[in-house]
Subunit: 319 residues, 2 copies
């Protein structure tokens, strides 16, 4: 396994994320090709000038020849099956994925004997749309792209996936799979449940309530417009962490409810929430940067995970 | 009391909302003047060319002479004191307000003997900013402006306040004070509590979580950036209705929590939330319209309240 700053990319599954990886990689001057099961997407991607295989094994063969990074970008429930076929095919290419949870995907990679080649990934990008038609070569510009630093990850594998993410315009957030899952439950899965609760409670007030709704309701319910299947899949794939985040939110809301009943005021939730929002805005504007030059030594994974916990990002890879 | 399509306007209190009423009324060609306690705002409004009185009684005297609508636009906690002074002054002008809750303001007007002249109002407009500097003559364009049709409201008073709201660019939503308060608890006060819970729970995940936060967290926590004092005042002024809305949201979230623990799926909250958000978007795009021509007869208040419950609005006043 050798580190190349611009490895070819073999993308398995050409939905919005996989399609955007192919388009962004090609736009960045990388060799990029893919496999897709859908005949319609196959034709559309070919018509757009991309190299697409209709057989997974043909794509994997080309990946071996090109020494490509393999990006598994199928829906979550199909990832295990793809891992099984990659394992059966053999080969030595680095394998990554773009799934929205990481611990279960890592377990699946280990189960199929891919541990030594697998490096989990998660670009925090995507819109309410889906499919190849919604793929956009600029989708990852400025986005955070989580790259796993779990125990089995090799430095070469991490470097290759990180350089791919950087090459597509993202910044890299190193994280352990389990820590990633707990974090996204709080900031990506919980918001969908709260938005659903707000939308339902607003609508229960009838058209008078919905007709008076302005900015706070509009913003607070926006993600209730997401495809319900995707939201249900988020919960199903990350249940323990979603429950942990929801229980914390419920504890805070119960404390406010109790205080409201006793005093007519909601208690500290409002002021601490204001401070939390300010902390989020500060971090978004000014993130600490990780220098690759400092990653020598056997504890590089631990140091990257620690930097990720501090909100730090890799912006470039210049060893 | 006579109905005039463009009554002069006497605004008590020149913060963001009161200042916007003065500016928008002047821009619409109405005679507009005001009273403000703050010497700094007094000077700023005068310097901008507006007629401002430094004594409340002088403003009320001018209001009587001009047959103006009096708009009380002070902070909520000062409204009762202003009502007392209006009652002590006497006169016959219609009195309205712009407070964010309506039942307690109505009770205060009745307590001070203003019932026959009072028509509660609430423009659903305003930004995170405050004060005369944040006043904007276009603030009410397209906004919903609730006008009370409670029992004591006269048709002439309703018409004068409705025509003022329409003249400043708003659409009029007729509603009973208590129904208004329950509605805004759902769509305006509850969103602030849920945003605070989300911001706190996100921040409890540390910089890793805040650093991975994207659109769903950003939108879901936006109003956590509001001035905490304003949010606490919302709760204090509308406690019973806020508790009702919060309890409903908690019930829905608890049902989701229970379902998640048993099945890994959140249950119907997601699909019904999706439908609720779609209903909100449909209503925002296409609201039923109320025709003034149909408002003859003694039950005009009940019919307007019923229309408001259906999400209908007055867009013009052409009897």
């Amino acid at each position: 396994m050798t580190i190349s700053a611009a490895s070819p990319v073999c993308v398995i599954g050409l939905g919005q994320i996989g399609g955007s990886v192919v388009k962004a990689a090609a736009a960045a001057g990388r060799e990029a090709f893919g496999y897709v099961r859908s005949a319609r997407t196959f034709e559309a991607a070919r018509a757009a000038g991309f190299t697409v295989f209709g057989e997974l094994e043909s794509a994997l063969k080309q990946a071996e020849l090109s020494r490509a990074v393999i990006v598994v970008a199928t829906p979550m429930q199909a990832i295990g099956g793809v891992f099984a076929r990659i394992a059966a095919f053999g080969g030595s290419c680095v394998v990554t994925d773009v799934g929205s949870v990481k611990a279960s995907v890592l377990a699946s990679a280990e189960e199929h004997g891919l541990a030594g080649r697998f490096v989990g990934g998660h670009p925090m990008a995507g819109t309410a749309n889906s499919g190849w038609e919604a793929a956009d070569p600029t989708l990852f510009q400025g986005a955070a792209w989580v790259v796993s630093v779990d125990e089995g990850v090799s430095k070469e594998g991490f470097a290759q996936v990180a350089m791919l993410a950087l090459g597509l315009g993202a910044v890299v957030v190193p994280a352990l799979a389990a820590e990633h899952d707990r974090a996204v439950a709080r900031i990506s899965h919980l918001p969908h449940l709260l938005a659903a609760a707000l939308a339902n409670t607003g609508a229960a007030g009838g058209e008078l309530a919905l007709g008076l709704a302005a900015g706070s309701f509009r913003d607070g319910t926006r993600v209730a417009g997401s495809d319900p299947e995707l939201v249900e899949a988020m919960c199903a794939n990350n249940t323990a962490a979603v429950i942990e985040a929801l229980d914390e939110a419920l504890d805070r809301l119960h404390a406010a409810r109790t205080k409201l009943g006793l005093t007519g005021e909601p208690g500290p939730i409002v002021r601490s929430g204001h401070a939390a929002r300010a902390a989020y805005e500060r971090l978004a504007q000014d993130r600490p940067e990780i220098a690759v030059a400092g990653l020598e030594g056997p504890d590089w994974r631990e140091r990257l995970a620690e930097a990720g916990r501090r909100g730090a990002v890799l912006r470039s890879w210049t060893p």
